[in-house]
Structure formats: C-alpha cells, structure tokens
C-alpha cells in the first residue's frame, strides 16, 4: 500500500478532487468579488483581469461604513472571551487536578456538563437575566455567554492534559519556594502551552462565527458582530452582487489569516492527543 505507484496516484486523485470541492466555492466568491456585476454574470469562472476587474463591490462595502465597527466588535468579543476561557479554564483545570478537596470530583463533573448541554437551551432565561442586569445590546453580555459556553471544553482538555503531566515539577517548584499562585503562572502555564493553541482555535471558531447570540442578545447597530453584520448587510443588498461577494470575502480573510498562523500548532495540539475520545 505504501509504495504502489498506482494506488498512490488514486489516493492523490481523491485528495485533489476533495480539495477542489472544498476550495472551489471560496475561490469562486473571492474571484468574483473583484468583478463588476456584468463580469460576475458573463463569465463567473474567469479571473478578474482586464475589463472584468472592478472594486465597486468593495467600495460599497466600505461606503456602508460600519464594517470596521463590526470587525472591532467581533475582535473585541472574541479576544476577551478567548483570554477568559483560556485563563479561567486553565486555572480551574489546575485547581481540580492539583489539589485534593471535598467535592473535587463532583465539581469537575459539573464543570464539563456543559459539553453535553448546549447553553443555547437557556437563551430564554439568559435574555431575561441580561435585561435585569441592564446588559442587553452590550458586548459584555456576549463575552460572558461565550466564556461560559467555552469553559467546559477548555476545562476538559486542560484537565486531561494536566493529568498526564508529572506532579513532580510542581513539587520541585514548591521546594524552590514558589507560592501556589506563582506555581500556576510560572510553571503550569508554560507547561500547557502546546494545548493552549488547540483550545484557542476550538473555542474561537464558534465565537467568531456565532449568529444566535448576537442576534438575540445584542442586535443593536453599535454592538453588531461581523457575522450578524454580514447577515443583515446581505439581506439589504441582495441585488448588489458585487457588494455581497465583497462582503463575504471580507468576512473570510481574517479567519483565514488566523488559521494560517495557528494551523501548525492546532494540528500539533490535536495529534499530541489533546483531543481524545
């Protein structure tokens, strides 16, 4: 199976075919976003060269003026939630694996329950809660929800990883005189670096892409995220194809960049057994 040239060709054939299936739609959109409306319809698969080339779509996206705001909102929400998930998740996982205390096992179970029970089921009560707290149409509401939503998986992965780490290094730090707090920040955090990337990507995707909570908790003009913004923008401009395509492309690019930056670590984290069945 390893060195048979025929089967090797067949394998690459399958892989290339599937790659085309995965990439083609995205490329199609990206290419056509640089064309005029006429160009988009006359020759959808041609490259945006010569007279086909046009940035009209991007101009109307930018003219809309709100996209930088949406991006800012998404970025703020995603980054703050991510930091909270990683930090609080790692802290909790450390607390649960490192110390023996009453109810330890139960608390651990409670904290990862959320993997199985989607937080969306509590939307009704969440909205009421945020109304009471005066947090509707704020980014804070989103951050809090996403943090709560991301914690279980993060705690689960960190806990599994920390269990596999020898406790001796922490004892060694204790003998070196570090306080329990500094042991976490100076020894444990650097130790879990390999899984942090994995947890980060897995937590980030659903936050950046979420439509449900922005739609319900903060649909206001000022607090719209990119995903919601695109959804609404496209709703308004369905006839302006250049603008729609440009907006879609604009929404893809930042994710793509982050993915390229993180993908190596992500794969390493996954294959290091961080995500186990």
């Amino acid at each position: 199976m390893r060195s048979n040239p025929l089967s090797s060709m067949a394998i690459h054939g399958v892989l290339i075919l599937y790659s085309a299936l995965a990439l083609f739609p995205l490329l199609l959109i990206a290419i056509n976003s640089f064309k005029s409306k006429k160009g988009i319809f006359r020759d959808p698969t041609a490259l945006p060269l010569g007279e086909l080339y046009s940035t009209k779509g991007y101009q109307s996206v930018l003219a809309n003026g709100d996209f930088p705001l949406y991006f800012g909102n998404s970025l703020t929400v995603t980054l703050i939630s991510l930091v909270l998930i990683l930090l609080l998740g790692a802290m909790a996982a450390h607390g649960l694996t490192e110390y023996r205390f009453k109810g330890n096992g139960l608390l651990g179970l409670y904290l990862i329950l959320g993997i199985m029970v989607p937080i969306r089921l509590g939307t009704v009560a969440l909205l009421e809660l945020f109304v009471k707290l005066g947090l509707t149409n704020t980014l804070t509401a989103l951050v809090l929800v996403y943090t709560a939503q991301g914690l279980p998986i993060a705690i689960f992965i960190f806990t599994e990883f920390l269990k596999s780490v020898s406790g001796e290094i922490k004892d060694s730090a204790r003998i070196d005189g570090l306080s329990e707090y500094r042991i976490f920040f100076e020894v444990v955090l650097p130790l879990i670096r390999p899984v942090i990337a994995t947890v980060a990507v897995f937590s980030m995707i659903p936050i950046w892409n979420d439509l449900w909570f922005p739609l319900i908790l903060s649909p206001g003009e000022e607090t719209r995220t990119v995903t919601l913004g695109i959804q609404q923008f496209i709703g308004q401009y369905t006839v302006n194809w250049s603008a729609v395509l440009a907006a879609l492309t604009v929404a893809i690019v930042p994710v793509l960049i982050m993915y390229v930056i993180f993908s190596k670590q992500l794969i390493r984290g996954i294959t290091a057994g961080a995500v186990k069945g």
Binding site: I11, Y18, P25, L26, A92, G95, R120, G167, L248, G277
Partner: protein, 310 residues
C-alpha cells in the same frame, strides 16, 4: 497527582482562587439559564402575572395541533438531518482521515489544512456562498451540470419543498466534515505503530488492517463523533437554516428544525407573537431529547466501546 500542602489555616484560599471564577461565570451564565428555562416551562402568563401551571405547557406543545404540528415537523426534519450527517458526513470524514493518516503521504499537511478550512468560516458566509452558487440566477451550477452532461437535472433545490432540507444538510456536511475528520485523524495517529506492525506481520494488508485493526481501535471516537453530531444537529443547525431559509424555515416550513422553531416561539416572527414560557418549553423539550441521547451514549454506546481499549 493530588497534593496536600501543609498550611496554617484549614481553608486553602488558592483553591478558591483557581476554581471560583470559572465556576461562577459558568454557573450564572450557563447552568442557571438552563435551570431557569426548565422552571419557566412550568409557568405561564395569566392576566399579566406568572402562574404555575405544571406540565400544561408541555401538554399544549404535544397536543394542540398548532404547536404539535410544528414540533413534530421540526423534530422529523432534525432526525433527517441527523441521519444524513451520520450516513454521509461521518463516513466521508473517516475516509479522508484514513487517507491522510497513511504514513509518509506527500502533502498531507496541505490537504488537512484545506479540508478543515470550510469548518472555520461562519455559517452565514457559507450559507450565502452556496446560495449564490446554487442560484439559477447566477447560473454557475446549471452551467457546470450542462458541462457534465446532466444539465436537465438541475433544479433550484433550496427553493423546493421536496429538496430544500436535503440541500441545506449537504451544505452543512460540506462545511463541517472537517471536525469529525480531525477527531478521527487524531485517533488514528494515536494507534501505536507497533500494533500496526504486528498486524502486518500477522499477514494483514492495508485494507484488512483498516477494517480489522484501526476501525475497532477508534470505535470510541466513532461514538464520540456520533453524540457530537446528535447534539450539534439539534442546536447548531439554527444558524445555517436561519441564514438560508429565514426564520420561517421555508419553503413552507420544510426546513424547520428545533432551533428555528424555538427561536420563533420565543421571539415571535412576523404575525406570530413571542411567548417566553412556550419558548422555554420548547427549549426544555429539546433539553430532554438531548439528555436521552447523551444517556444512551454514556451508558450504552460509550461503555461498550470502551472495552476495546487497552
């Protein structure tokens, strides 16, 4: 490893410091809302005050035709969604993962990156992309199908009652195949090289190694993927359908799923008024549906599959 550190006081504050923040946020913004939803499903608004009504809301949901029709329609659609994901998405994911895990495969990293790419993108973006591609207006798909000689089979699938749900599901599969693929891939890579070498020495070839050694060894991951598919199918499917087909999940409710149904019930849509308690009732029903699935997984599937390990 657990440790008890000599300390003057009984109360070890650092433990509180480590576990309290996560526990607090999680309790207030994840567990409390779900519990509160369960509670709300037992109440109803009577003369502008909330009154305890027992399981009346559930009775209403399952017996009044207006509610029951919608509920069972959404439920049925969800089941179809689940079946298609299980039959197409997960086998494709497994096949891709199996190919990618062939030792020394050239370009494996690149393929992996490409296959996972759609998963990263917003459902909204994906939804619109496919809407454009499948649109008869643009004509990409008809042109392509003509080129392949099957042009006469083209139809505006997303707009037809008979095919809309399947079309939406296929889009979802296209997008999310990357996640089970990664899980399978990681599981396959975790199989010790010695086990595979031993199989080779026992005379098994590539195919039989996959079927008789690798597959049994990754059964637990298969179970995990199954339950994740089940949960995601009931909740995450909202985004795509809302984007593609709108809150009414048209045409004529043919793509309505629990997520969109819950959304409409809670917030109202167009003429329909929102109803907090009925929304909570739908959410709670969904909670029990998921609970049943998870229990089956934890007590039936997972336990049996775990035996294969070690």
């Amino acid at each position: 490893m657990s440790h008890s550190i000599p300390s003057g006081s009984r109360w070890r504050w650092y433990i509180v410091f480590f576990v309290a923040p996560a526990t607090l946020i999680y309790t207030v913004f994840a567990i409390y809302p779900i519990v509160e939803s369960l509670r709300l499903s037992l109440f109803a608004e009577r003369d502008a005050v909330e009154a305890f009504v027992g399981i009346d809301n559930y009775k209403k949901l399952f017996t009044e035709p207006y509610w029951a029709d919608q509920f069972w329609n959404a439920f049925k659609n969800n089941v179809w969604l689940f079946v298609l994901h299980m039959l197409i998405q997960n086998p494709v994911a497994l096949a891709l993962a199996a190919i990618l895990s062939i030792p020394n495969l050239r370009g494996a990293a690149t393929y992996r990156t490409i296959f996972f790419l759609p998963t990263l993108l917003s459902v909204v973006v994906i939804g619109f992309i496919w809407q454009l591609i499948l649109s008869p207006l643009w004509g990409i798909t008809p042109a392509f199908m003509n080129f392949m000689g099957v042009g006469k089979f083209f139809a505006p699938w997303l707009g037809l009652e008979s095919s809309a749900l399947t079309a939406v599901t296929l889009i979802s599969i296209w997008q999310y195949v990357g996640i089970p693929m990664m899980l399978f891939y990681a599981a396959l890579l975790n199989i010790p090289e010695e086990t595979l070498e031993a199989a080779r020495i026992d005379g098994l070839n590539g195919w039989s190694i996959f079927w008789k050694v690798k597959l049994p060894l990754i059964l637990p991951t298969l179970g995990l993927v199954g339950i994740l598919t089940y949960i995601g199918n009931f909740t995450a499917s909202f985004d795509l359908i809302y984007t593609l087909q709108g809150g009414l999940a048209g045409p004529n409710g043919s793509t309505d799923v629990m997520g969109t149904f819950m959304f409409r019930t809670f917030f109202g849509f167009q003429a329909q008024l929102g109803d907090v308690n009925m929304g909570a009732t739908v959410a709670s029903s969904l909670f029990f549906i998921i609970l049943i699935g998870v229990s089956v997984y934890l007590f039936g599937v997972q336990r049996r599959l775990q035996r294969y390990q070690a």
